[in-house]
């Protein structure tokens, strides 16, 4: 899949989550706004890379298999 996101959108998403978190009427709002900021906290670089490089290039799917070593 070709990358279609932008870095601005990543920032927007974070801000939207911040707008929801702690301000919604129901607890689902709070819960739904939790995963993305957490992912951004630990894997920001990967998200940024994903804006211009296809995921298949960043994370070679073959490299994540159990038989990757056998192929080398």
């Amino acid at each position: 899949m070709l990358p279609s996101g932008t870095e601005t959108e990543l920032a927007d998403l974070e801000e939207i989550c911040a707008n929801i978190f702690g301000r919604s009427f129901c607890a689902l709002g709070d819960a739904a706004a939790t995963p993305y900021p957490a992912a951004m906290k630990y894997f920001r670089d990967e998200f940024v890379l994903g804006t211009h490089t296809a995921v298949s290039e960043l994370f070679d799917p073959v490299a994540t298999t159990v038989f990757a070593g056998a192929l080398r």
Partner: protein
């Protein structure tokens, strides 16, 4: 914005009274009564926290999230509309807290995602809380790049109320209003997520008497009226505070005009009277002001035709006709006149026409009622008030249906009932929908038997409840046609100590009574036959005491009967009319269908030799009159109404039309033409005279003591008629507003299950109610009624009881299967 109470503010460090809490808002120390919401406390400091769902008269729900503020020590921003200010709290609003400001901007961004950018064509544009607050508390640009959610629009949730679902921000003000205030949860929030929308049940439109209020409290343009949609922009309107002329509730209104045309009317904030609400009749029934008006005087020609005439000619004809009938003329005024104009007629009758034959009661009335009014109501000033109703432990309604006859009393009682503060009891043949929304206990009575019922009430549990301090008895004007009932109500009030208030249906009745537009009553509740009262009145009027009529005159019914009797005698004997007969009538604001017997009224108008009519529009009286003068409606003149409490409600002219005079000014011109001194007759002069007359403190007449009459006995083909008006009906002041009329309650015949079984009819079958004069056939609704009682609306489309049946509550009528069986 509404401030409902005059909450004391204490800023800075002073002794804080008990029950107050002290906290800091935006660095300012404030002490407010415990329980005050942060959003209100901030208002007291002049800090406006943005809000949509919050409304001071609705319970807090905190579901729009716009009013988030920061409270030190709390992890999340809190909704200030649902959080009471606590002792020692440190509150920061958007003015001092970045967290609060960011939270509000974020909520605003979400609210605007699906909101159409149609402000330039939206009715709310220019007076829209969403528009204003998106400017003050929102981002300048949009980041939303997707496609907005759309809905077909508008949809009719009633004939009058149109819903634009795209604009809705789901604040639920409208649904909460319908549920909490009106007690008719006909609208609700349906669906979830971005599909959430306001809707009605499929077969049940939002036909509430109070539906218009939802338009006014909608913070966006989602609710509009068919009457006003796309008619005007708020910034083109000129607004003026006015008072409603449709009933005796005394609502303050805001009337918006554009280029001398009334575009709409809104409820004005009057905490002591209508709070922020009004009924749909007051809101929408104003087209009568601009349509079909009389524009110039009319004079009957020698060939019997009414033709347009100049003012000088019409005044000359009127003056000569009335001068010839001086001392033998009568004045019939309706209950729709302002206090000032009613006073002008009261003075005109006594000073210019030298008669005491004046009566404002254009409806069924009795001499018992006249005695009751002059003894207990006229000139008594403010009695029971709206806030007394709220505080009363017990309210007894007698011959009075608040929702239909005085809707603001209904809302106020409902407010108290919801708080669990008051128990309502109603003496009536049936428990109506309105009464059941007041959780009222029915004291079931056959029409005409109210007196006996009231006599029995002073004992027992209810008697004890009415003896509780603050208890109130509200009697409706309809009791006039139930002999003995007003006496019994007065007696019940006297024996139990309960406060008694008379609630007329028309706006001008109390003012007319206080101004002396009733036979035997002089302005301020003075008694015509009291020497001191005569001296006081004559002094203000600048006339000789001896010239005031000394004998108590005749009621409207007696005037009509006298004319018809004399006319009949003349026709039979071919004689000259008797010397004492009535030779001229001055009729104002009365139409035949108001009367208990419309035919008798019209035949009297036909028979009397000279009739002067002062009217706003063509009526069955103007077409029979000899001289017709056009007069101003409430929109074109200043004046005041006295509401049922006795509170005087002043208003100024909204439309400034050239050449339209108030009634008093026309009367003054006629008096001038007769070379009699009447004064200027304009509103300020009349007011000045009323003020200097004030309230009489002389003798009061005896409270009537009329015995209850025996109730009618009926066979299976007959029933006793119970009847009262629907709020929205065929009334003349509601003409020209089809959307409003379409929300009116349908006319039905209500019969008991036993009667239905005897007639072999089911719910919905046609039932005919007949007298010798005519018959009304309508679908039946089986209701818990006494077996021998049948109920009809008095003046609805398809059920004009007075005009068709010539009957009134308590009369015996024939009941049969209707439709093809009739």
């Amino acid at each position: 914005m509404t401030v409902t109470t005059n909450t004391p503010i204490l800023v800075g460090t002073v002794d804080v009274p008990e029950g107050f809490v002290t906290a800091t808002i935006d660095g300012v120390v404030i002490s407010v009564p415990k329980g005050t919401l942060i959003i209100r406390a901030a208002e007291l400091l002049g800090v406006a926290v943005p809000r949509f769902c919050d409304h001071p008269l609705l319970a807090a729900v905190a579901n729009c999230r716009m009013c988030l503020i920061e409270i030190e020590g709390m992890p999340k921003p809190q909704p200030s509309c649902a959080t009471p200010l606590g002792e020692g709290m440190v509150v920061k609003t958007q003015l001092t807290s970045e967290i609060a400001d960011a939270a509000q901007q974020g909520v605003m961004e979400f609210l605007l995602i699906n909101h159409p950018l149609d402000c330039p064509i939206c009715d709310k544009g220019g007076e829209c809380p969403l528009q204003n607050q998106s400017m003050s508390n929102g981002r300048a640009d949009t980041r939303f790049a997707g496609t907005k959610r759309t809905f077909p629009k508008p949809i009719n949730i009633s004939a009058q109320i149109l819903l634009d679902r795209e604009r809705c921000v789901s604040c639920a003000r409208c649904t909460r209003f319908a549920d909490e205030i009106a007690g008719e949860p006909l609208i609700a929030l349906l669906e979830r997520g971005s599909q959430q929308q306001v809707g009605t049940a499929d077969d049940q439109p939002f036909d509430s008497y109070f539906s218009g209020n939802t338009i006014q409290i909608c913070p966006v343009g989602a609710l509009t009226s068919a009457r006003y949609r796309f008619r005007s922009r708020p910034f083109d309107l000129v607004s003026a505070p006015t008072v409603c002329e449709h009933c005796a509730s005394g609502c303050g209104l805001r009337t918006d005009t554009r280029r001398s045309t009334i575009m709409r009317r809104l409820a004005w904030d009057e905490p002591e009277v209508n709070e922020e609400w009004n009924c749909d009749k007051g809101r929408f029934a104003f087209p009568y002001i601009s349509e079909g008006r009389l524009t110039h005087p009319l004079v009957r020609d020698d060939d019997g035709e009414l033709r347009p005439a100049s003012w000088p000619e019409a005044l000359d004809v009127a003056a000569r006709g009335l001068a010839a009938a001086r001392g033998r003329a009568a004045v019939l005024t309706g209950g729709r006149l302002t206090r000032e104009d009613a006073y002008a007629y009261a003075k005109f009758a006594r000073v210019v026409l030298a008669t005491d034959d004046i009566d404002f009661r254009a409806r069924p009335h009795s001499s018992e009622e006249a005695a009751f009014l002059s003894a207990l109501v006229a000139g008594t000033g403010r009695g029971v008030t709206y806030s007394d109703l709220e505080k009363a432990p017990t309210v007894l309604l007698v011959g009075f249906e608040p929702e239909e006859e005085s809707p603001i009393i209904f809302l106020r009682l409902r407010k108290a009932v919801r708080r669990g503060a008051v128990s309502v009891h109603t003496v009536s043949p049936l428990l109506t929908d309105g009464s059941s929304r007041l959780s009222a206990q029915l004291i079931q009575t056959i029409p005409g038997a109210e007196a006996a019922t009231l006599d029995a009430l002073s004992e027992g549990d209810l008697g004890e409840a009415i003896r509780a301090p603050g208890a109130v008895i509200l009697v409706g004007e309809r009791l006039a046609s139930s002999p003995g009932s007003l006496s019994a109500a007065a007696n019940l009030a006297a024996t139990t100590g309960a406060a008694l208030a008379w609630v007329p249906r028309r706006a001008g009745e109390r003012g007319a009574l206080d101004s002396g537009a009733l036979t035997g009553v002089l302005p301020g509740g003075r008694v015509l036959t009291d020497a001191a009262a005569r001296i006081e009145t004559a002094a203000v009027w600048g006339v000789d005491v001896a010239s005031l009529p000394s004998l108590v005159g005749r009621s409207a019914d007696d005037v009509v009967a006298r004319i018809n009797d004399d006319h009949h005698a003349i026709a039979v004997a071919g004689d000259e009319p008797p010397e004492h007969t009535i030779r001229a009538l001055v009729v104002a604001g009365v139409s035949a269908d108001d009367q208990g017997d419309p035919d008798a009224f019209l035949s009297a108008i036909d028979a009397v030799p000279f009739v002067v009519s002062l009217e706003t529009r063509h009526t069955d009286v103007t077409e029979r009159a000899d001289v017709v003068f056009p007069v101003a409606t409430v929109a074109e003149k200043a004046g005041s109404f006295t509401d049922w409490e006795g509170r005087i409600r002043d208003f100024n002219a909204v439309l400034h039309e050239v050449g339209i005079q108030n009634d008093g000014r026309v009367l003054a011109m006629i008096a001038d033409e007769m070379d009699l001194d009447f004064g200027r007759g304009d509103v300020s002069a009349l007011r000045k005279e009323l003020d200097s007359l004030g309230r009489g403190n002389g003798v009061r007449p005896e409270v009537p003591n009329v015995a209850a009459s025996a109730t009618a006995t009926v066979d299976s083909a007959h029933a006793v008629l119970a009847t009262w008006r629907h709020l929205l009906d065929a009334g003349t002041l509601q003409e020209g507003e089809p959307y409003l009329a379409a929300t009116a309650r349908a006319a039905v015949v209500r019969i008991s299950a036993a009667k239905a079984a005897a007639l072999q009819v089911n719910d919905g079958d046609e039932v005919a109610v007949s007298t010798e004069h005519g018959s009304i056939s309508l679908p039946a609704v089986i209701t818990e009624l006494p077996d021998d009682v049948v109920w009809l609306p008095t003046n609805s489309f398809g059920s004009t009881v007075r005009a068709t049946l010539h009957a009134d509550a308590g009369d015996v009528v024939a009941v049969s299967r209707g439709g093809e069986h009739a």
